[in-house]
C-alpha cells in the first residue's frame, strides 16, 4: 500500500475520516459476524442451542460437541486425508503445467504463442455447457469414483495461465533467456534452471489459488463420487448437513443418537473443516493480494 499522504486536517478531511472509519468498521463486522455465530454455536451446549437458538456468544459454554466428534473421527480423518492428497497432487501438477505453459507463451520467438493463448482464452467465452462435459468425463473417460475426477478439472484455468504468463514476462528480463540460449541451453533447461527459481512469488500466488480450489471443492465430488470413503472434506460436511436436515424434515427426533448429529456438532464440524484455512490465512493472504495486483494492473 502507498504511504499515507500528508493529511491536512481540514474540515472535509475530518468528515471523510469519520465516515470512512465507520463504514469500514461496519463492513468488517458484517464479514466476521456469520463466522462468529458458527464458532459460538460449536461451543454452546446443544439443548441450549435447540431451545434458545444461535447467539454471538455461547450462552452455556461446552466443548461436548468437539469431544463427541473426536469419539468417532474416522470419517473426518478420511475426508481430510483424501482432500490433502488431492490438494497436494493437484497443486503440484497444476503448478508444473501452468508455469511451463506460461513460460512458453511469453517466449517471443515461439511463433504460435498467440494462437495457443487464444485457444486457452476462447474456453472462457464459449463452452459446451456442464452436461456434455459431465457425460464426456463420466461415460467416455470413466472418471466416476476415481481421484482423477477430483484432480483433473481443477488443474488449471485460463485466468491462472494468463496470470502466470504475465508474471513471467514482467519479472524475468528477456535478455537472461536470450543469453542462456546463446550459451546453447535447451528451452526446457532455461525454464527449469533459470526461470523457475526467480518466479517463486508467482508460484506462491498461483499455488495458493489452486490449493484453495481443491480444498474448498464439493462440486466435483457431488458429480463424480458416490463412495463415501472418497468424499472431499467439504462434501463430507455438505452430506452431513443434508442428512441432518432430511432427518429433521422427516421428524426423526434429535435425542443425541449417533446417526443424527446435534446442532452443536454440526457447528464443531464446520470449525474443524474450515479451521486450517483460517489458521493459514494470515500467512498466505499477502500472496493472494500480490497475485491479484499483478493480474489486474499489468494484464
Amino acid at each position: 500500500m502507498t504511504a499515507p499522504m500528508k493529511i491536512k486536517r481540514t474540515k472535509s478531511q475530518i468528515a471523510f475520516s469519520i465516515i470512512g472509519y465507520t463504514v469500514i468498521t461496519l463492513v468488517s463486522i458484517y464479514c466476521l459476524f456469520p463466522l462468529v455465530l458458527i464458532v459460538s454455536g460449536s461451543f454452546t451446549q446443544n439443548d441450549v442451542l435447540m431451545r434458545q437458538g444461535y447467539s454471538l456468544w455461547p450462552r452455556v459454554f461446552s466443548t461436548a460437541a468437539y469431544r463427541q466428534l473426536f469419539r468417532y473421527p474416522e470419517g473426518i480423518i478420511n475426508a481430510y486425508g483424501t482432500t490433502i492428497m488431492c490438494t497436494v497432487v493437484g497443486t503440484a501438477l497444476g503448478l508444473f503445467i501452468i508455469t511451463m505453459t506460461g513460460y512458453v507463451l511469453q517466449r517471443p520467438d515461439f511463433k504460435y504463442r498467440s494462437k495457443v493463448s487464444f485457444m486457452i482464452y476462447f474456453t472462457t467465452i464459449f463452452g459446451g455447457g456442464m452436461v456434455p462435459w459431465f457425460i464426456m468425463l463420466s461415460k467416455y473417460l470413466h472418471f466416476q469414483n476415481t481421484y482423477m475426477a477430483r484432480i483433473l478439472p481443477l488443474l488449471m484455468s485460463p485466468f491462472l495461465i494468463i496470470l502466470m504468463r504475465t508474471f513471467i514476462s514482467s519479472t524475468v528480463p528477456h535478455e537472461i533467456i536470450e543469453s542462456a540460449k546463446i550459451d546453447s541451453a535447451g528451452d526446457f533447461a532455461i525454464y527449469w534452471r533459470i526461470v523457475l527459481p526467480v518466479i517463486t512469488p508467482g508460484i506462491a500466488t498461483v499455488g495458493l489459488f489452486l490449493a484453495l480450489g481443491y480444498w474448498n471443492d464439493w462440486y466435483l465430488t457431488s458429480l463424480f463420487i458416490t463412495k463415501k470413503n472418497m468424499y472431499s472434506l467439504q462434501f463430507y460436511l455438505y452430506d452431513m448437513l443434508n442428512s441432518v436436515r432430511f432427518a429433521q424434515e422427516m421428524g426423526i427426533p434429535q435425542l443425541g443418537t449417533e446417526q443424527v448429529p446435534t446442532e452443536s456438532i454440526k457447528m464443531a464440524m464446520v470449525v474443524i473443516v474450515t479451521g486450517p484455512i483460517i489458521f493459514l490465512y494470515p500467512f498466505v493472504q499477502r500472496y493472494f493480494i500480490a497475485g491479484i495486483t499483478v493480474g489486474s494492473v499489468k494484464g
Binding site: M1, Q285, V297
Partner: protein, 324 residues
Amino acid sequence: MAGAVKAKESATKATGRAKKKDGFVAEFRRNKVMFAMLIPVTVYFLLNNYLPMAGIYLAFTKFNFVGGIFGSPFVGMENFKFLFSSGKLLKLTANTLSYNVMFILVDHVLQITFAIILSRLGSRIFTKFTQSVMFLPHFVSFVILNVIVYNIFNYEVGFLNGILTSLGQQPFDAYNTPGAWRFILLALHVWKGVGYGTVVYLATITGISTELYEAADIDGANVFQQIRYITLPLLVPTFIILLLMSLGRIMRGQFDLFYQTVGNVGTLYDVTDILDTFVYRSLRLEFDVGMGTAAGLYQSVFGFIVIMSANAAIKKYQKDYALF
C-alpha cells in the same frame, strides 16, 4: 487485459515475419521442445473443454446412457420447443439476468467505495487489519454459506428470529417468503466477494501517482473533490475491464451460491432458480440430459453473444479497453 497483450504480440509478430517467412514444419523443427512443453496444456483443454463441445449434439436428442452421445435417438428441436413453450426458459433467463445485473451493480459500487476509503485512511494498522477481515470470506468454502443461512434464518433456532422474538416481534419465515431471497442472496454474494474486488480496485488506486493528489491539494481541492476528479476517472479502465469480464459470465454465475443456500427448495424456484441450478438439477435429479444440454447450450450461446457485442461496443468507443 488481453487487449494489451495482443497489441504487444502483434508487434513482435511483425518483426518475426520480417526476419523470415516460414511454415509450421520449420517452426516445429526449431522449437520442438517448446511444442512438447505445451502438450499437457493442450491435452487438458481438449479433454476438459473442446471435446465436450461435441456433446452439444445431445441437446437435439433424447439421451440414454447406453447409446451415449451419438447413439441416442435424435429428436430435433423438441427439447428447445419444450423449454420455450413451457415458459421455463424465459423465467430462468429473467432470473439469471436480473440477479447478475444486480450483483454487478452493487459489487462495483461497494468495491470502489471501500477501496477509495481504505486508500485514504491514515491508520495503516486499521486498513491492513480490516482489509484482511473483508477478504476472509473469500477463503471459506461455499458449503459454509449453507450453514450461515441456517444459523441466521432457521425458523426455530435462527439468530434473526432470536432477535425478533426478544424484541416482541413476529418471527420471520424465510422459506415461505420467496421475495426476501433476492436480498438474502445479494447480501451473501456481497459477503463472499466484496473483499476480493476491493483488493483489485485498491491495487489500481495505489498505482495512481501521489503527485496528482499533492497538486490538487495545493490548488485547494478537498478530499471529496480529489476523489471525484482524480481517483474515479482513473478507475474507469479497470472498471470497464472487470465489467466486460463479468458480462461474459452474465448467463452463468454463482452456481455454488445458489445451490448451497436455496438448493432444492422447490417453493422458492420462482425467485431463485437460475440457468445453472436448472441445468444441474436436470442432470442430477431428473436425469434429463437432453433438456439440460439444451438449456446449457442456450446459456452458452446467449452469453457468447453478450460478450461479443459488449466487446465490439467497447472497441468502437475506446479501443484500449477491449478484451480482444
